[in-house]
């Protein structure tokens, strides 16, 4: 009954792995910590491809912070790693166990609803002990400022909350990072877009088809010519009683090629290679999508401002190490380091130093060098200049290049397993499309299986998701097709000639003139953020508890 502003020592926004690591570490240091999560439950807004790594070199791992994590929150560990190079029905598979095992203490497949909601319980218990707690269904909308300085957060559901530390762990579309001017949605080439299907499968069937023990699992990666030249690849991970199958592409490539992400996923699902694993029946539990920052370009080198620190996706901390994408492990490290930085700064009686200290720790602990490797700066970006790329493509595809591929099969497999080599891979067609295709054509064996899988159409995929539609959270600022038409294809829940999606292509006749427009219905929105980049929008998250609710994630 007072009008005093609520005040906590620390406010953590978002309870994914980054937020959970930050909150747990803050609580361990006796910091009064309030955690705000916009989903009905932690994990209900979260999607990941599905592997969480624990790196040997990392100062923090998720099971270090949450000891029962692997027993309680993960699916199967990855004990087998293969990349498949595909050209038509020809496939050449390389074992990339070495790349996978490099610096890896363990890696488990996860489903985010299960994982994050378990984490949230732990976080709630721990933060309560220091006078805070976890609140769900609260949408943090922006930063609270006093005299231009960040002092807390504003929310859609509650009065503003002040804090000495604000941890923005609010994901890839972080509204706090954007409010602070630290991140933007400008360049499609800084992002990947992933779509995923979680496919139901009995544990025994998984053991048989993947030839793994009940407590083991497999990770398969796919690249080559099955994605219509769009730069990216596919993955398949085994969960306890389901498979996570998805595709990840450079967003600029999706935009340029006017590719339909759900169709690219279907290309993978219906490829003959998949028949051995999918069998005849196909029961898709959930379709989901998310943006993935490319840390090489998007990771903020100095992710803090005033009392605000960014961790995880919010800071662009998602490392694409060639075909292996590591995000959650870095979010965990960053979250814990940010918390540690605050505890240090507080111990020195100057909490305002936390941001600087956090940045220093990211560098000192080697996180930043993983996210923005120097090798990529030297070689990778050079490879992205289009003449160089064209030349490399031409050479790789020429008789000489093909001879080289045949002669160097062993070498290639080793190259794929070198963390240093893959960290320098440029974002061009060469590594994603041309090279795997040539490899498969020259070295591959045809797959003879017949794939009878018929994935659900987009309308059914949308219909199977759970929504609580609130007010539209995205505003289409410019509805001309020129400005925003790319969203019709690039949005994972929209498609050309599909009236049930978010973005629809419309030709409107008024007074004899015809306009090519785009209309938007946010009802089927999966909150991936694609349209924030490829269309002209005002993008916000829906209110707390509203919008899509992932049951698998």
């Amino acid at each position: 009954m007072t009008d005093a502003v609520e005040e906590y020592e620390a406010v953590v926004v978002g309870c994914g792995p980054g937020g959970a690591a930050a909150a747990a570490t803050l609580a361990r240091n006796g910091v009064e910590t309030l955690v705000l999560e916009r989903g009905v439950d932690a994990g209900s807004k979260n999607v990941s491809g599905g592997l969480i790594y624990a790196e040997e070199s990392a100062p923090y791992t998720i099971d270090g912070l949450f000891p029962d994590f692997r027993e309680e929150a993960t699916e199967r560990p990855v004990t087998e790693n293969v990349i498949h190079n595909i050209a038509g029905d020809k496939v050449k598979s390389f074992d990339i166990g070495d790349l996978h095992h490099h610096d890896t203490a363990w890696a488990d497949a996860v489903l985010r609803r299960k994982m994050d909601s378990w984490l949230a319980q732990q976080v709630h218990e721990r933060t309560r002990e220091t006078g805070g707690g976890l609140l769900t269904e609260v949408h943090v909308t922006g930063l609270l400022r006093e005299r231009g300085e960040i002092v807390g957060v504003t929310t859609e559901e509650l009065d503003p909350i002040k804090a000495d530390l604000v941890v923005a762990a609010d994901g890839v579309n972080s509204e706090l990072a954007r409010d602070a001017g630290l991140m933007d949605w400008e360049d499609p080439d800084e992002w990947f877009q992933g779509v995923k299907a979680v496919v139901d499968m009995e544990p025994g069937v998984i053991n048989d088809r993947f030839d793994v023990a009940p407590d083991d699992g497999a990770a398969h990666l796919f690249s080559g010519d099955l994605f219509d030249g769009v730069r990216g690849g596919g993955f398949l991970y085994t969960n306890e009683d389901s498979l996570s199958i998805g595709t990840v592409f450079h967003l600029d490539s999706i935009a340029e090629e006017h590719a339909e992400p759900h169709e690219l996923l279907d290309s993978l699902l219906t490829h003959p290679l998949m028949a051995q694993w999918l069998g005849g029946e196909y029961d898709e539990r959930e379709y989901s999508a998310k943006l993935v920052p490319d840390s090489k370009k998007a990771a903020h080198p100095s992710p803090h401002k005033d009392r605000l620190v960014l961790v995880g996706d919010a800071a662009g901390q998602m490392q694409a190490q060639g075909p292996i994408i590591k995000g959650m492990n870095h979010a965990v490290t960053a979250g814990a380091l940010a918390a540690e930085a605050f505890a240090d700064a507080r111990a020195r009686n100057d909490p305002s130093q936390a941001g600087e200290l956090y940045e220093k720790k990211l560098h000192d602990e080697g996180v930043m060098d993983k996210l923005r490797p120097t090798g990529y700066k030297v070689f990778g970006q050079l490879g992205e200049l289009s003449p160089v790329d064209d030349l490399s493509n031409a050479v790789a595809d020429s008789a000489v290049g093909r001879f080289g591929v045949r002669a160097a099969a062993g070498l290639l497999e080793r190259a794929y397993s070198s963390p240093r080599m893959v960290s320098m891979i440029p974002d061009t067609k060469l590594p994603y499309v041309t090279l795997p295709t040539v490899i498969a054509e020259e070295l591959g064996e045809p797959v003879t299986d017949e794939n009878t899988v018929s994935p659900p159409d987009l309308a059914d995929r949308i219909g199977d998701l759970t929504y609580d539609v609130g007010d539209p959270h995205i505003e289409l600022v410019d509805n001309s097709f020129e400005a925003s038409g790319t969203a019709v294809t690039a949005c994972p829940v929209s498609a050309q000639d599909f009236g049930g999606g978010c973005y629809r292509d419309e030709t409107v006749k008024t007074n004899g003139s015809e306009e090519h427009l785009v209309s938007l219905d946010t009802q089927p929105c999966v909150e991936c953020g694609t349209c924030a980049i490829v269309a002209d929008t005002e993008w916000e998250h829906p209110a707390g508890g509203k919008g899509v609710e992932f049951k698998q994630g």
């Binding site: 361990r28 240091n29 505890a343 240090d344 111990a347 720790k361 539609v469 009236g499 427009l517 219905d521």
Partner: protein, 554 residues
């Protein structure tokens, strides 16, 4: 060997631990261990910082008996005296300060320390001290606005309060549900109250409006013992001043501050209500704050729970004596959610020794209490409250208003004709043709799919009025179950299905015979709606719809 070996800890743990180490040598030993061990830069910085701090403090250590106060800032004095427990030393310090710089702030620091060191002894075993009451104007003569205690309106002390008053809001001629919920709760509370305290206090319903008398029977049925109502055609819409004036006039009638002519009323012989309850609606929130302010009490807004109980209070401002505890009886405990229900506060409104805080008032979130079953056999007393309303109170005029609820209700129709994005080629004509079909039936209306409402279609002005969210069928719109549902150009997404699935007969019109709507339609006419709708209209007008359906049912 120091107690803490830094190499055995992560830096995050060290921060808080190291704060408790005050010995610089021990810290130096820790630093050496770290240098020989993990040699982490941040850990070293942490320890070095601490060493610096500890040594600073060491240098500054002073003996209060000999220190030269002139060298110290007031803050230094404050810090120093915190450590001194000897009253004589403190008095000596005070004398020296008086003899020296004689700083008022420094003296008050020392004096307050003396008080806290010795005060406890003085009061031990004695009666607790009375808190002296000084009116704020006297206490702060230099201030224009002595805000420590808000100046009161009434200044009543020790008056008599009785009954629980419930403001029963009406909207658009209806008694709103929360009014009934509050009456039910008030009945329950007061029945228990009367039993517990052997009293005979009542539930009083207050009705104000242009149609107040229409609801008298209802509020009695829902639990009121006494209804006080005032009706006036000018009170058709809620307005702050007249509503507040009327409520307060009623509340004061028969009491110490009753308006002229209402000093003695047959139905009330106490000063003001013991409890007041308002709905936490838009209007109820406004009125509750104004009334409780005018009656010189407090308000617990947006409550979700109410109960009456005794409360043990130790706040000296309420009890009148420091260190004393006093039990207050018949206190309304008003529970309200903070932080979306993450926490609850229970608000108590308690008299001060020199000022009453009555009525104990709350506003109640609609839906918090159960809707009681009305009992139209109940008896109740009714007071038609007579009072002249000042024209001055009506200077604010409501010129225009919209009623947001109401809207288009598609339920209850025999037939609903709904169109979807199939009208995209010519949206205006699509709506026109659908409206023609609607008109062909007796009891029918137009529905729309969400796809149409969220489209960028441009409609001619004569049909534009029909394209509103109010006509949306589906999960985020209305759910209808007419005898006949005609879905033209609607693909039949699951979100649409839930809005019409219960219809007796569903007739779909679609160019795509495999559209999802096929799965839940009884009939599917494959064709362009622009051709099919006019034919349907014709068939209905000719009374041949049934025959047409038979023909397409193959």
């Amino acid at each position: 060997m120091p107690d803490i070996d830094p190499t055995e800890h992560e830096i995050a743990e060290l921060g808080p631990k190291i704060k408790d180490v005050d010995d610089a040598d021990e810290l130096r030993a820790m630093l050496a261990l770290e240098e020989d061990g993990e040699d982490r830069v941040p850990v070293k910085t942490l320890i070095e910082d601490r060493i610096e701090k500890v040594e600073d403090e060491g240098d500054g250590e002073m003996d209060p008996e000999t220190v030269d106060l002139a060298d110290l800032t007031v803050a230094d004095v404050a810090n120093m005296v915190r450590e001194v427990d000897d009253g004589d030393v403190l008095r000596d310090l005070l004398e020296r300060e008086k003899a020296g710089q004689d700083r008022k702030t420094a003296k008050s620091q020392i004096e307050s320390r003396i008080e806290s060191v010795e005060g406890t002894e003085e009061t031990e075993g004695e009666e607790t001290a009375e808190v002296e009451y000084v009116p704020p104007e006297e206490k702060y003569p230099e201030l224009d606005h002595p805000t420590n205690d808000k100046q009161w309106v009434e200044g009543t002390v020790g008056a008599e309060y009785r009954d629980m008053w419930v403001y029963c809001e009406t909207q658009a001629g209806e008694l709103v549900d929360v009014s009934k919920e509050m009456l039910g709760k008030a009945r329950e509370l007061m029945d228990t109250y009367n039993e517990d305290y052997d009293e005979d206090e009542r539930v009083v319903a207050v009705l104000i409006g242009s149609d107040a008398s229409d609801h008298i029977e209802d509020v009695i049925a829902y639990g009121a013992d006494l209804v006080v109502s005032h009706e006036d055609p000018r009170l058709e819409r809620f307005r702050h001043q007249p509503y507040t004036e009327i409520f307060c006039d009623m509340a004061r009638a028969g009491g110490e501050l009753a308006a002229e002519g209402r000093e003695d009323v047959a139905w009330k012989d106490y000063h003001e209500p013991r409890y007041t309850v308002f709905p936490a609606t838009n209007n109820g929130r406004d009125l509750s704050a104004l009334v409780q302010g005018e009656l010189d009490s407090g308000l617990a807004s947006d409550c979700s729970g109410l109960y009456i109980e005794s409360a043990m209070i130790s706040n000296p401002a309420k009890v009148g004596t420091a260190g004393d505890k006093k039990e207050f009886e018949r206190v309304l405990h008003m529970k309200r959610p903070d932080f979306s229900g993450f926490e609850y506060s229970t608000i108590l409104c308690i008299d001060k020794p020199n000022r009453d805080f009555h009525p104990q008032g709350a506003s109640v979130i609609p839906g918090s209490f159960e809707m009681p079953d009305p009992d139209y056999e109940r008896d109740g007393e009714v007071v038609d409250y007579e009072m002249d309303l000042d024209e001055e109170w009506f200077t604010v005029e409501v010129e225009e208003y919209d009623r947001l609820s109401g809207g288009v209700d598609l339920t209850g129709n025999d037939v609903v004709v709904a169109v979807g994005r199939g009208i995209g080629d010519d949206p205006t004509q699509g709506i026109e043709q659908a409206l023609d079909l609607v008109d062909a039936f007796d009891e029918a209306d137009l529905g729309l799919s969400r796809g149409v409402i969220t489209s960028s279609y441009s409609f001619d002005s004569h049909v534009e009025q029909y394209v509103t969210e109010e006509r949306q069928i589906g999960e985020s719109g209305q759910e209808v179950e007419p005898d006949v549902y005609i879905a033209a150009g609607i693909s039949g997404a699951i979100q649409h299905k839930v809005g019409c699935d219960e219809s007796d007969t569903i007739i779909a019109v679609n160019t795509n015979p495999d559209a999802d709507i096929r799965d839940f339609s009884d009939y599917l006419i494959e064709g362009d709606l622009f051709e099919v709708l006019p034919q349907l209209t014709e068939a209905v007008e000719a009374g041949e719809l049934g025959a047409m359906m038979e023909a397409s049912d193959d």
